[in-house]
């Protein structure tokens, strides 16, 4: 049981079959483990649009295992805890392929806890427990009053709401001579608050009594927002419209003579840098000017094609390709290379062959990093992909 949300961990797992969405499982062929601290382990297997869930300690062969405490796990599943925030803050962690685990979000409809009818006593406690929160500051300007609630019966009690300086404080007692006192049985109070019976009816039948300032009694509706039972808030919410679109614009870019020369060089498997005649700096790809010296750079030099790796930045999270909107497979390696003929900070950035991520040594000062060479595309049209990637020169 997650005490915080009143839902059992088992309920989440036991309802998985009925919440399963075969359309969300398309193309998924994997097992996922759930390790809920102190509550046990479960294994979910998804294949060919169907699923199986079992409670087992053997989580071998799972693509990813999620670890969380009961409150976090239940909270995420019933939509009360933000999954991203739980993941970021480490309250929920994933061992294994995080990307694969992401696919589980589409597998199930959200768990909705069965509606539980509250007892009269529970209602009364919740109604007074939420009274301060429902107070409407704006309607209370200039008021300095006390409202007494004398709620009879075994499930009743006595409360006082003190309203002063635009604030409302509720205490569990009945203070002497409040500005207004409302007297009725717990059952009637609950029905009144839930809108099942109106106040005039209660007063005329003698089931409720009001002592003190009657004018104040008519203002109560403005002083406090309407009570909503727990779990009913969502249905009361206004429908908020959202428009989802993809902007899609065709573009054309002019290379100009400098970038054009460089891109044309790639077609012939040549990597061209240009050199600043003032400071001697090489830029690759070449730029029209040296921004430091503010002069045009028109001396082109062929560099590379081999070089040593200065830095490997391994990306586990990829941005979408603006041309296609598609996201690269991760992890992938972005490398900064000092091509032969370049020195200092004159690095060239490109991709590393996927299966060589863990074999790269990075250079530092005099020390050279792993030597790499370009792998050229068969068909070259003057673009980044004319070099497929760099690979270790061996």
């Amino acid at each position: 049981m997650s005490e915080k949300f009143g839902v059992k961990v088992e309920d989440i797992f036991n309802t998985m079959e009925e919440r399963f969405r075969p359309e969300g499982a398309e193309g998924v062929d994997a097992s996922f483990g759930y390790d809920i601290s102190g509550r046990g382990r479960w294994k979910l297997t998804v294949k060919d649009g169907s699923m199986k869930i079992e409670q087992t300690d053997d989580l071998g062969g799972c693509a990813a295992v999620i670890q969380a405490d009961a409150d976090t796990f239940v909270g995420v599943n019933i939509g009360k805890v933000d999954g991203t925030a739980a993941f970021t803050s480490g309250k929920l962690s994933v061992d294994g392929d995080v990307g694969a685990f992401g696919t589980t979000a589409k597998l199930f409809k959200r768990f909705t806890p069965p509606k539980k009818e509250l007892t009269v006593g529970e209602y009364v406690l919740d109604m007074f427990g939420t009274l301060e929160a429902r107070f409407q500051t704006g309607a209370a300007e200039g008021l300095d009053i006390t409202i007494g609630y004398d709620i009879g019966g075994e499930e009743g009690g006595q409360w006082t709401a003190r309203i002063k300086d635009g604030k409302c404080t509720v205490t569990e007692e009945l203070v002497p001579s409040p500005s207004l006192t409302m007297i009725m049985k717990a059952k009637d109070w609950v029905e009144l608050m839930l809108g099942k019976v109106d106040a005039v009816n209660l007063l005329t039948t003698g089931r409720a009594k009001v002592e003190g300032d009657m004018n104040l009694a008519t203002k109560l509706g403005e002083l406090f927002a309407k009570y909503t039972a727990p779990g009913e808030e969502e249905e009361e919410e206004q429908e908020l419209l959202v428009l989802k679109k993809i902007i899609s614009v065709n573009q054309k870019f002019a290379t100009g003579p400098v970038m054009g020369k460089y891109l044309n060089g790639l077609k012939e498997k040549k990597i061209l840098a240009n050199k600043c005649r003032e400071c001697g700096r090489m830029q690759v790809p070449p730029r029209e000017v040296c921004a430091l010296c503010r002069i045009r750079c028109d001396e082109f030099v062929e560099v590379g094609p081999k070089g040593n790796v200065r830095l490997l930045d391994t990306a586990y999270y990829a941005s979408p390709d603006p041309l296609t909107g598609e996201t690269r497979e991760t992890p992938y390696g972005l490398i900064y290379i000092l091509l032969d003929g370049c020195s200092g900070q004159e690095v060239f950035a490109h991709f590393l062959r996927d299966d060589q991520l863990d074999r790269i040594e990075m250079g530092w000062n005099e020390k050279k990093g792993t030597i790499v060479r370009p792998v050229w595309a068969e068909e070259r049209t003057g673009k980044v992909a004319d070099i497929k990637y760099f690979e270790i020169d061996e």
Binding site: E239, L240, F253, A254, T255, P322
Partner: protein
Amino acid sequence: MKEGFDTTDCFLVDGKLALPYTYFAGRVGSKFLTTIRDEKKIMGIKCNKCNKVFVPPRQTCDVCMEDIRDNWVDVQNTGKVTNFTVVRYDDKHLPKKAPYVLAMIQLDGADTPLVHVVEGIDLDKAKIGMKVQAVFAKETTNTILDIDHFAPA
């Protein structure tokens, strides 16, 4: 770049920008649109300071800087054209096939005009001051096109 420079290496590269976005109408905008959708009714918001009724509604009167979000009022489904133009080109972002009349329509009970399409008249018959009436869409898109167009009243 000097005139007459060497353009041997210059060429054009095709590009594209394709990115998703999401737009939230907010409480005021959502109520305006869902009321059109569900009740076939057009609502505005009134500024109690300058007494203007805004259609489409807005949360703030931008002249008085008053918060007016709760001052909903009903306006009529009829109104008059205060200005118009004829759209004579086709493009994928346009709501109708050209040519069509795009008009500013001040609904009865409103003080500001709503931009919308007028159909059901010859293009050369459209004129300022003509009376029009909202024709609601059969299928919802949750946009202002839940009013499909305005027709002569």
